[in-house]
Amino acid sequence: MRDHLNKRCMSRREMLGLCRNAFGGVALLGLLNSLPFGRKLWASGADAAELMTPKTPHFRPRAKHIIFLYMDGGISQVDAFDPKPRLNKEHGENPFEKFEVDPTQFNNYGRIMKSHWDFKQHGDSGMWMSELFPHLSTCVDDIAMINSMVSDFPEHTNANYFLHTGIGIQGRPSMGAWVTYGLGSENENLPGYVVLDGGLIPPGGLDNFKNGFLPAGYQASVLKAQKAPVANIRPQEAADSLQTAKLDHIRQMDQNVLVRLGQADEIEATIANYELAYRMQSAVPELTEFKDESKTTMNLYGIYSEDVHTQSYGAQCLLARRLVERGVRFIELTCPKVEADRWDQHSNLKDGHFKNAHAVDQPIAGLIKDLKQRGLLDDTLIVFAGEFGRTPFAQGSDGRDHNPSAFSIWLAGAGIKGGTVYGKTDEYGYRVVENKTTIHDLHATMLFLMGIDHERHTYRFSGRDIRLTDVHGQVIKGILA
């Protein structure tokens, strides 16, 4: 490891030398997005030994990329993935007579409510799924369903921070930041951690995607599916040649500083950064141009759907695949803004859940199939999760309130045993009765599949070696291939 690091270090000097040609003329190695070198440049005050501790990866990774499909607001497990016939039988009865009811976010307890959707078994595995997800139902043999998820928080914001950062308060590094901190990125022109903003930024805001106390370079770059997908990515100059001329002049003048100082790594790194920034200017917009995608592919993702939300989520999913192809480590998709808001149906669940499902179902199925046919699913872990589930009894007459005591998520792709159903809830889908699985377990598993031991993957902050999984978490062995 030490030899390896040493080589990386020595080659950097040479590279900086190479950079002194005309702007954009020379390919850079993944200077600042790759480790260990980027880490040294980024980390101020981090102790040398800590920086050099071999962390990457701890063991053979099964996944190189993660696509995190965030289901904002809390999808109802009993309407989507976890069938509960007893709800049909006891529809309209008083939940307080059936089981102990926890305090809820809205304190507006209605009656036990059956699902609006029928469940059927699908695929070779016979996994149950409701008719909310007709397309996804055709992929059940690729996915592992966990019906026994629990969260610590019944409020969106804390539950979101918990899901994204492993702790229920603001300011901690997001899971994507932890992954890139550990592994860097494979692409020198793109950030390692990307959030595709579908229209809904989750409660808790952009802090769900931040670097927390990790160096700023690990925060997510938020991309929108538009012409200038990232902030400040478009040159303001009228012509490219003008910008290039300016940058050339800047670099030429900056050389004076280097000559005077003799040695100034910080400044050299900043100069090198302009190269990278320049290249990102063209690499990033190219991402969102689907010129080279076939009609069949576009169709697979639902980009020609009549539902504009299916179209836009389809574009996000396709963009996610393109990011995977370009070596981006961690990609999160946020939900499209359908008329019924996020999955948070405190009322009018039938309409809201249908619209949300319709927007994401075909694109997600398309993504799985497309990755699979291109051989990318072997390297890519897909995680589909919300921050909590919903109650089996109604809120008011036709909604459901938050339920952190049981919900369903699923994973697919690299290292995952398709067709698995893991964990059980009680007959109402209200509480977990078997294989209780925490957010920490989910994080431990995601890191594990990326080749990272969650217990050893730490960062010193506030006098402690802090982990994504705090002091908890166990890899969910039961869903691994």
């Binding site: 030490r2 690091l5 040493n6 270090c9 020595m10 600042l32 070198f37 040294k40 440049l41 980024w42 980390a43 101020s44 005050g45 030994a49 809820t104 976010q105 304190n107 019944p154 409020e155 914001t157 308060i169 603001q170 300011g171 930024i201 989750p202 409660p203 805001g205 952009l206 802090d207 927390g212 160096p215 700023a216 370079g217 990232v230 902030a231 400040n232 990515i233 303001q236 003008l242 001329a245 300016k246 940058l247 002049h249 800047i250 900056d254 004076n256 500083v257 005077r260 100082l261 040695q263 400044i267 790194a269 900043t270 950064n273 302009y274 990278l276 920034a277 200017q281 506030s462 006098g463």
Partner: protein
């Protein structure tokens, strides 16, 4: 060798690192090749080994202790072990079990066990062995040993602190045979001082003044000039805000505002500018509401001290938590974290669930503090308190006395009805039933355990005092508590003691317009739907009505009732000039409420019916009293009901220890602070303990922060953690010298900054000496001045200063954040702020937790959730993209260029370029630079078809040129 490769050497040769630290401590001049006998120091070598490798299972935390062995205390480490033998036998390493277990080959026997994934180096084992053989001398952790002045040669001792600093720094360099570099040039020095003290570049005019006046006192003049600048406070307040996780909103789902947050920011700016002694500043933060003689604003005479408590509520906050108890725990935990890290650089929050794993901080320390903060209430407070009007108050009091003297005797003569009524209800017949819980009955004029805060509220007995209004004088028929005793629009709060909610509802009889009745459950302030809308009632009827609070969700919780004139609008407290409220009874009940006797009508004297002498008094009373109206508020602290908190076992608020922890100071320092008071919250006593010179941490922590801010690195690098997990000081004697002198010199931040800035060490060039770099690669010994990148705020403010767009207006409401399309989510302000922030300095931009300024974040502004005494300095492409493409940067380049073109002077190309350089880099262009720049400009003119003679007037060419200067590394680095 690159820095990375140098770092590698550190990794490969950890022993040399240890030697370097050790030499710093002992000041010994020894070769770094081997560790000699006398060189092993417990604090600098041995405890770090034990702490890193052993304390997790053999440290202070009893819950995770293995084998009944603890190695953090001598008497335990040398005690007889369960299995025989002793871990440490002083003088005999061979028979010390500690050593044999570490050296064991047996995986079941070896320590640390393989599962811990930790191994000691041979060097470390050798040091342990040697230390034991030398007698195993134990010392308290260095930070708990009181600082003492180092022994300095007599000639040095008498010199100013700056010289003493240089002596110690140079001594350390010399002992390592490291050669310091010479001083930097005068212009660079001016730039360094200007930026580090004020966060702005020197103006070309100031620069010229400093450079042309040939004087021995050059450095002094520069340093004193910038210390005296009002911009000093703006920069240093921002540093302090990093510690206090300053923000203007609460984050969470809707990002509600923190009422009046910016008053605290303005307070800081004034305090740093006025050089308020640091011990005073600390006391104001922790107990500014409790000081006997608060510090007052020199001109406006308002209470400054109380504004310090505004830091407390600046954290995150959520609405509608399902458990307010847990929400309180999160808030208090955060406050303890912020307080302990900021003031004493200890991580007390680590002891929330268990005893601290490394430091001597038992979990009871955390809950002692917890109880103190639980005994503290959050309250709106006027940012300009009424006492500034003390003369008015005196006059108002006199006039009131005169009116009372003429009206009261007559009022008392009439009507006996209410007198008999008071007798009847004083027995509380209506509410004596056990179905009721009487929370307060003020109809006799007695308030029991309820408390008044500030001026507005007073209890009025029957016909004892008058309520003087604008057009009438009222004699209450029955006792009541009213906020309009002085005048409507005056602020105050009237609160019950804590009680446990036992019923479904609370009835409060009240009158007023506008006033608020709130039930504060577990100190929870963000009252709204869903869940908590029933905890607040707004009173808008000047006739008496019964108001009902719905409390069924919070039964069993601790709470208090709060009565305020005015009201909250989306969590911002406002008080209008006519607002008032009065109440006479509060009762909790579950099924049916009490039937209260209606209040008899008060005797009202209309002003026009009064004799002219009295009505004249009423008129002058009113015109005087209405001037007392306070209009601007912040959320500060007040005393609540004293609470001793039990320990939450494993941090779980549902699992409580039987014993409650009395208020006290930190165990590690408590010897000096016995007899901690148990009345009240104890905040003032805690604050006094923090700033007591017997406290070994506080002075060291603040001088280290000042050093860190000036040099970019602390003498203790981990500025927020002086515990065992923090770094050791590189210059322990210097740290102590600064700490002791700082206290001697009256805790003056400016004076210390001044002395440091006047030192030769501070004046060194950034150009390192290559051969010295090899031996001190991280510049631990300051043989040169570190190259520093400016913070986001300084970069943005610098751009504005250079472009000429800077608006130096100080203080006031934050300028709304400029919203890019990438900043979306709930709570997004409906309207974006201006791109250029109205030209105001960055400290005046709003800090919305869910919409933090991208420019600042990109340049490493910390996310405001916890104490950040040391910012990261990262290098990421987003920074380049910002300077290359951000519309703000382009806008300012254009502004700068146009201003220059419009100005009469510097029309010649070279002269203009030099002007630009002076503004941007505080120096003139060199000849080669001039040539290159001119050739760039000419080639651009050619490319754009601008005739050479028109270059001087070409807005686009000069805009591009100015933009280039913003992108030069020299612009964002102090070189």
């Amino acid at each position: 060798m690159s820095k990375v490769a140098r770092a590698l050497i550190w990794f490969v040769l950890p022993a040399s690192v240890i030697v370097v630290c050790m030499m710093a401590w002992q000041g010994a001049n020894q070769s770094s090749k081997s560790v000699g006998k006398s060189e092993v120091d417990f604090n600098y070598h041995i405890r770090p080994i034990l702490s890193q490798n052993c304390f997790t299972c053999h440290g202070p935390d009893s819950s995770s202790r293995e084998g009944d062995l603890r190695l953090d205390r001598l008497e335990d480490a040398t005690a007889l072990l369960r299995d025989g033998g002793r871990a440490i036998i002083p003088g005999d390493s061979r028979n010390s079990v500690l050593v044999s277990r570490i050296e064991s080959d047996d995986p079941n026997h070896v320590m640390p066990p393989p599962a811990a994934k930790k191994t000691l180096t041979p060097r470390q084992i050798e040091q342990l062995r040697q230390w034991i053989d030398d007698g195993a001398e134990w010392k308290p952790h260095w930070a708990f040993i009181p600082p003492g002045k180092p022994k300095l040669p007599a000639g040095i001792r008498k010199k100013p602190l700056a010289k003493q600093i240089d002596f110690l720094i140079n001594d350390a360099l010399e002992k390592r045979d490291l050669r310091p570099v010479p001083s930097t040039s005068k212009p660079r020095f001016v730039r360094r001082v200007a930026y580090l003290l004020t966060g702005l570049p020197p103006s070309p005019a100031d620069l010229e003044d400093f450079l042309t006046e040939d004087s021995k006192d050059f450095a002094k003049r520069v340093v004193d000039h910038y210390l005296a600048s009002p911009h000093f406070g703006e920069r240093w307040a921002r540093h302090w805000m990093d510690l206090m996780r300053y923000a203007d909103t609460m984050g969470h789902e809707f990002d509600f505002p923190i009422s009046g947050s910016w008053h605290y920011r303005d307070y800081l700016i004034r305090a740093f500018n006025a050089d308020v002694p640091y011990n005073q500043l600390v006391r104001e933060h922790l107990a500014g509401d409790l000081l006997e003689s608060p510090r007052r604003h020199p001109e406006e005479n308002f209470n400054e001290s109380v504004l310090g408590t505004g830091f407390f509520f600046l954290g995150e906050g959520k609405h509608s938590p399902v458990s307010t108890r847990e929400e309180e725990m999160i808030r208090i935990d955060n406050a303890i974290d912020v307080i302990s890290k900021s003031f004493v650089a200890l991580t007390v929050s680590c002891a929330r669930c268990h005893d601290h794993k490394f430091d001597n901080i038992p979990t009871t320390d955390f809950y002692a503090m917890y109880g103190m903060l639980e005994s503290t209430r959050i309250t709106p407070r006027p940012a300009r308190d009424y006492e500034q009007h003390d003369k008015v108050l005196a006059r108002v009091g006199r006039i009131k006395g005169q009116i009372e003297a003429s009206l009261l005797p007559e009022a008392k003569r009439t009507d006996q009805a209410s007198t008999s009524l008071i007798k009847q209800i004083a027995f509380n017949k209506e509410v004596s039933d056990t179905a009721f819980q009487l929370l307060g009955d003020f109809r006799s004029g007695d308030v029991g355990e309820w408390t008044f805060m500030d001026a507005a509220f007073k209890a009025y007995g029957v016909k004892e005092q008058l309520l003087i209004g604008r057009n009438s004088v009222e004699v209450p028929s029955l006792g009541l508590v009213s906020s309009r005793g002085l005048s409507p629009g005056v602020f105050g709060a009237f609160r019950s003691a804590d009680f446990v909610v036992q019923h479904d509802s609370i009835l409060v009889r009240a009158a007023g317009n506008t006033g608020t009745i709130r039930l504060i459950v577990n100190n929870f302030q963000v009252i709204r739907a869903p869940l908590y809308e029933g905890m607040e009632q707004v009173v808008t009827d000047s006739s008496w009505q019964e108001y009902r609070l719905d409390t069924h969700l919070v039964k069993g919780q601790k709470a208090y009732l709060e009565i305020l004139p005015g009201r909250y609008f989306e969590h911002e407290y406002r008080l209008k000039s006519n607002d008032y409220i009065e109440i006479d009874i509060a009762v909790a009940y579950s099924n049916r409420g009490p039937r209260l006797q209606p209040r008899p009508e008060p005797t009202v004297y209309a002003k026009e019916t009064l004799p002219a002498s009295i009505s004249g008094l009423v008129t002058s009373y009113d015109s005087l009293a209405s001037a007392l109206h306070d209009s601007t508020y912040f959320l500060g602290l007040d005393e609540g009901t004293p609470i001793n908190s039990p320990v939450f076992i494993r941090g779980n608020p549902a699992m409580l220890s039987e014993e409650a922890i009395p208020h006290r100071f930190l165990t590690a320092l408590s010897e000096n602070f016995p007899n901690f008071p148990q009345n009240g919250s104890g905040r003032l006593a805690w604050a006094d303990a923090v700033v007591d010179p017997a406290n070994s941490l506080t002075s060291r922590v603040i001088v280290n922060r000042i050093w860190h801010l000036l040099f970019g690195r602390g003498i203790v690098e981990t500025v927020d953690n002086f515990g065992l997990q923090g770094k050791l000081p590189t210059h322990p004697e210097l740290l102590d010298l600064l700490a002791v002198t700082f206290v001697e010199q009256g805790w003056s931040i400016k004076e210390l900054a001044r002395q440091i800035a006047l030192s030769e060490t501070f004046r060194r060039s950034t150009v390192a000496n290559e051969s010295t770099v090899e031996r001190d690669p991280d510049n631990d010994y300051l043989h040169h001045f570190p190259i520093r990148r400016l913070e986001g705020e300084a970069i943005r403010d610098g751009i504005l200063a250079v472009s000429g767009r800077l608006d130096s207006t100080m203080f006031g409401k934050p300028v709304e954040i400029y919203l890019t399309p990438f900043m979306s989510g709930r709570g997004r302000p409906p309207v974006s702020g201006p791109l250029n922030g109205n030209g105001r300095r960055s400290i005046y931009m709003s800090i919305r937790r869910n919409f933090l300024p991208p420019f600042m974040l990109t340049f490493d502004m910390p996310v405001p959730f916890n104490t950040f005494g040391k910012r990261n300095t990262t290098t990421v492409p987003a920074q380049s993209l910002t300077l290359m493409n951000d519309p703000f940067v382009h806008q300012q380049a254009e502004y700068w260029a146009n201003r220059s073109i419009a100005s009469a002077d510097s029309q010649a190309l070279a002269a203009r370029i030099n002007q630009f350089y002076l503004s941007a880099f505080s120096r003139r262009a060199t000849n080669p630079e001039l040539e290159k720049d001119m050739s760039f400009i000419r080639s651009q003119a050619m490319a754009q078809g601008v005739p050479l003679e028109d270059i001087g007037r070409s807005a686009s060419i000069w805009k591009d040129f100015c933009h280039i200067l913003f992108n030069r590394k020299e612009f964002i680095y102090l070189l």
